[in-house]
Point group: C2
Chain length 432, copies 2
């Protein structure tokens, strides 16, 4: 396809939705993307840029002159323009900003002044806010007259003289009321105001919990400065919920479009951390070198004890991390959840310990070895249940993301406990 | 608080949003929930039930007489009523259905006839559909007159004589047009029609990709039968994205409100599977019993080689599983992504192998042991990179959820390869 026949490519791409064009870019290799961009220049509208994966967009944007980037940024909503520019290095960013109309530049600069991943970066400045003295009819006339409004909006915000939001009105309510009714009689007074510096994860949780379509963003003085609509939040919900599996596994950002060097940098850190924690296990094993020389079966069985504990710990940890991320696990119920997980661990422990104990006793014709491994597995699964809740909860208490480093600690605890309990019990019981 | 003073509890709860009341139930222990329900009976509106966690709701619903459940179901939207009833066993479900008004019963029975987790279960039957010959003014008059319409809607569907949707109109466009304009001139013809049997995960991906607020659901004949709005999809996006971490870790449903017996049943299966795969590793180790007796350091070091491979495999697997779930990894780019992951694995392998090789050579004053462990780690990290992509992709090709069982296979592969490469090389190199 990309072997020169640009006209055909153009014809094929022309029929696609911008989101599909963006997908097409992501499917291509890094070297083919500029070729596609060149073949379909006039289809590369701002919508396509808004839909592109961050990494792919960054590469494409960097290959364009600042003037062209500025042209695209001007067609985008503020939030999409900010997303496009925030990843550029400072110099390129300034070059693009210099090409923008003063008004757009001011809007983007203000947005960039809010912390990354905050409501301020996410919000759009295109919203409809009207004073409370308007009637339904006034509002409809105002909307019909003013050509400079946002194209799509779902709710209208009612503000007082100081531009503080006092109510929200869904468009369906407005359409269903006679013209004479005052907006203050239609609007919902109970509002969900988003502070401009609220973290995007919190924003997403609020949208989800209260089933919001749009919400007013207010500055520290309570003045309406923007709105966030649910379509901007949907991909954050997806990212935040999906990133736990990547973080827990130590895969960092985990984006298949990420440059290889970045993937390497984020992953090798955790492999080295894993190396160091595995060293703890290795040290414990080498302390029992004498016991292993006497009974080599210990060397074959001890990784099993560690592995089962690690698996049980990962299960509990995954549950705890998700419960923390969705605000289901809080200070109020930590004790109850810990007790719940310990009871599950007890059931799991008894089952697995019985299986491995009986199998070992029979296979090695050594009942004591069976009893030792069963006890060690039981102890390690209980330890895993405890550590799987306590480690993420502690990270959360100290305001660290529990998904980031819990895994390393839980695995270290279950590995060490597995080797120590099994080999220690083997010696203490007089087995070797 | 719950120690008898029900009036005070009532006063406190009265001020809360239904979603917060639902949260309150989830925070309480299973035995305290009926007490709270009794204290605030008349605040237990249908909204609270709609917001409750599935497990918590199931327990509460089961404790209520069928007549009361039916009263609550009648106040709910069809989709929420279906969610409440679909988990009941057949007998209880029939008892509740018998108490419903014929019209509601028919709607719920039709919804229950669609497969679980399909668009048909998710959709609401309350939507606004009008014929194409209407003007903006006709529509506004119709909306003002008909009191029986949905309370909140964001888009109006335009249908032809056979009730096939021909266009969609955002309410903001209607509000901004003069009354005389025909709806067919305002509506967007390019539609995203959802087949009634589409899986909810696909529905969620479409909403996300095309930033939809609502979408028309059509039956196999193309007739409009319902609508899905984004607020119903948001929690599915969150669940589907968040469940990967739970599935990959073998924690099943992973809900902290799940009954203990169900958690036990779903988790112990994976622990037993892990037991069997760990057995493969143990078998390999015991084949090298002679080598370990000669050099006990092998017993201490071999779990490290397995563990680092397991960790690298989990990283790649998490990336692959998320990329598959979000449709970023498809047939078209599997080869490229595999090659990408192998290059990352090569970089990781060289770094970690060098570290562990040099440290081992120095610590044991044995350069050959260092070379053996470095080679084994390199081989195992490359194997992990390969297995981490290939295993989930194969599950996906055979229409299995890659998150469910990939973990067991990848760990088995990296464990076995770790032990085999390290101990095998130790023997082959003449180290022991």
């Amino acid at each position: 396809l990309d072997a020169g026949e640009t006209d055909q490519v153009y014809d094929l791409v022309e029929r696609l939705h911008p989101a599909d064009v963006a997908d097409l870019f992501e499917l291509l290799g890094a070297d083919e993307r500029p070729m596609l961009a060149a073949a379909i220049t006039d289809l590369m509208g701002s919508e396509v840029f808004a839909e592109l994966n961050d990494h792919v967009r960054e590469l494409l944007v960097e290959s364009l002159p600042a003037g062209e980037v500025a042209d695209i940024a001007e067609q985008l909503d503020t939030d999409d323009a900010v997303a496009m520019l925030e990843d550029l290095d400072h110099e390129d960013q300034q070059a693009v900003l210099a090409h923008l109309e003063p008004e757009d530049r001011a809007a983007i600069e203000t947005a960039l002044s809010y912390p990354e991943e905050s409501a301020g970066r996410l919000m759009s400045r295109d919203f409809v806010a009207v004073p409370g003295h308007m009637t339904v009819g006034d509002l409809i006339d105002y909307l019909r007259e003013d050509r400079d409004l946002a194209n799509e909006f779902w709710e209208v915000f009612i503000v007082d003289a100081r531009y503080h939001p006092i109510g929200t009105c869904a468009l369906s309510w407005i359409l269903r009321c006679p013209r004479g009714i005052a907006l203050t009689d239609v609007m919902k007074r109970d509002q969900n105001l988003i502070p401009v510096d609220l973290d995007q994860e919190e924003v997403a949780l609020r949208f989800q919990k209260y089933a919001l379509i749009s919400a007013a963003v207010v500055d520290p003085d309570g003045r309406l400065v923007g709105q966030i609509t649910v379509d901007d939040v949907v991909h954050i919900i997806q990212e935040e919920a999906g990133e736990d599996v990547l973080l827990l596994s130590g895969a960092g950002d985990g984006d298949i479009n990420e440059p290889i060097r970045e993937s390497y940098a984020s992953r090798v850190r955790w492999l080295i951390a894993n190396l160091l924690t595995a060293l703890v296990g290795a040290t414990i094993i080498s302390h029992f070198g004498g016991a292993i020389e006497k009974l080599v079966a210990l060397a074959a069985l001890s990784p099993m004890v560690a592995s089962i504990g690690g698996n049980a710990g990962t299960q509990t940890m995954a549950v705890a991390v998700r419960a923390l991320a969705t605000n289901q696990l809080t200070r109020a119920n930590t004790g109850r959840i810990l007790w719940r997980e310990l009871r599950v661990a007890m059931l799991n422990g008894v089952t697995v310990a019985a299986l491995i104990g009986i199998a070992t006793a029979l296979f090695f014709a050594n009942p004591l070895l069976g009893a030792v491994i069963a006890t060690a597995v039981m102890v390690n699964i209980m330890t895993a249940g405890l550590a799987g809740v306590v480690v993420p909860v502690l990270f959360d208490r100290f305001d660290q993301d529990p998904a980031v480093a819990s895994s390393v600690f839980v695995t270290m605890i279950t590995d060490s406990m597995g080797f120590f309990a099994f080999l220690g019990l083997a010696v203490a019981s007089g087995l070797v």
